[in-house]
Symmetry: C2
Subunit: 235 residues, 2 copies
């Protein structure tokens, strides 16, 4: 169970963007510490924020917002901070967060200042998005999206459509090659002085295409049609 806590967010668009990323990645507990009142009300109608925004709760202090959490992790660029906590890259920190039993809170600071030293003192450890040192500071909504993606990413999950169609059989590609050879022969492209070499090159050319069954059928149809046209023109 993960709770996202935005501490003193200022821009209603960013609050909405954070809520949208949560909805995209399947997280629903959003808590805001002291947002500008107006901002909070405005964002209730933000595009795509949906039910996450509707159930978001406001707190006066960070302590109250994280009272029921058993792990508190802060996000930081690592700049201008006291260095009292262990700091992990998102890749390794995310793994620990995902493994945590019980409710964990992931804190994000304000757009302008990030989390204060006081906010950080509530954290067991910190996590850093591995952005460039020359430009560490990310947009709030994007930072939330990137962190949540790291938590849900699953390198072992199978691809939605790993390969379109299955690979062609040798019988199919040989049929294609024969048709193509006939076409080259008729059009005068075929090199009669080195037939064996031409055949070899043609075969390799077709193999390199890595054709699927379906695409082989399409190519066969195309060549058959051209052959028909040439033959009917000749006769």
């Amino acid at each position: 169970m993960l709770t996202i806590v935005l501490v003193h967010p200022r821009n209603p668009l960013n609050i909405g963007a954070a809520a949208r990323a949560m909805s995209n990645f399947g997280f629903d507990d959003l808590r805001l510490v002291g947002p500008y009142d107006v901002a909070f009300r405005e964002v209730k109608s933000a595009v795509g924020a949906g039910s996450v925004m509707q159930t978001a709760r406001c707190f006066d202090s960070l302590s109250e917002a994280i009272a029921d959490c058993t792990l508190v992790v802060g996000t930081t660029t690592g700049a201008h901070r006291e260095g009292l906590q262990t700091m992990r890259r998102l890749e390794s920190g995310g793994k620990l967060l995902a493994r945590h039993k019980g409710r964990a809170a992931l804190l994000f600071g304000s757009e302008k200042f990030g989390l204060s030293n006081d906010d950080l003192s509530h954290c067991q450890w910190l996590v850093q998005i591995p952005s460039r040192e020359e430009h560490r500071s990310m947009n709030l909504g994007q930072a939330v999206a990137v962190c949540l993606y790291e938590l849900i990413r699953d390198p072992k999950a199978s691809d939605p459509r790993p390969v379109v169609g299955r690979e062609a059989t040798v019988e199919q590609t040989e049929a294609l090659q024969a048709r193509l050879a006939e076409l080259l022969e008729l059009s005068g492209h075929y090199d009669h002085t080195a037939v064996a070499g031409s055949e070899r090159r043609l075969r390799a050319l077709i193999k390199r295409m890595g054709l699927t069954k379906q695409d082989t059928v399409i190519w066969l149809g195309i060549y058959r049609q051209i052959l028909w046209k040439i033959k009917s023109t000749i006769s």
Copy 2:
């Protein structure tokens, strides 16, 4: 080398957000296909977009924008599309993209409609961010950020500050235990009927704290001060 191509982006804020994420993660080649003129000009001054936005180029057609690329990959939610291309999750697709020698283009469609079937026909394969099926569609700037993060993430990179301080030695924790025992003794908390058991529990309690050298020194100082106070009050 990766080129980010935004096809018919509408919202200048999203163009700026894409540029900012590129700067955060160290990518600099942004190309826009037919953005609204006004939008494109507005965003030149967007927060954090920096030099990426300054060097971004505009094209009239997708073909022109990707003319020099040797791999073209489209991003898609997978909805309402023809299914002519292999579709990979970002985890596996990102790996292939990162490994590609030569210039690869990663395409993002408009906020409202994504990439069209026509746009998709330019792609060797497609990549899907593993968002929830019930809410697949991500904000454009967030989608760019998440994809670029996948490309730069490095699970083998060492943490910026893996552990704050080095672990305390046994000598240090034993000294701490002795001080604490003395304190409990003086304050009347120590259980005289089961000294051995109490010592054992005290040692385990301290071990569970996983103390660093530095923190052991701080705790020792705290207990020493309290001991001094109690002793001076008693005498």
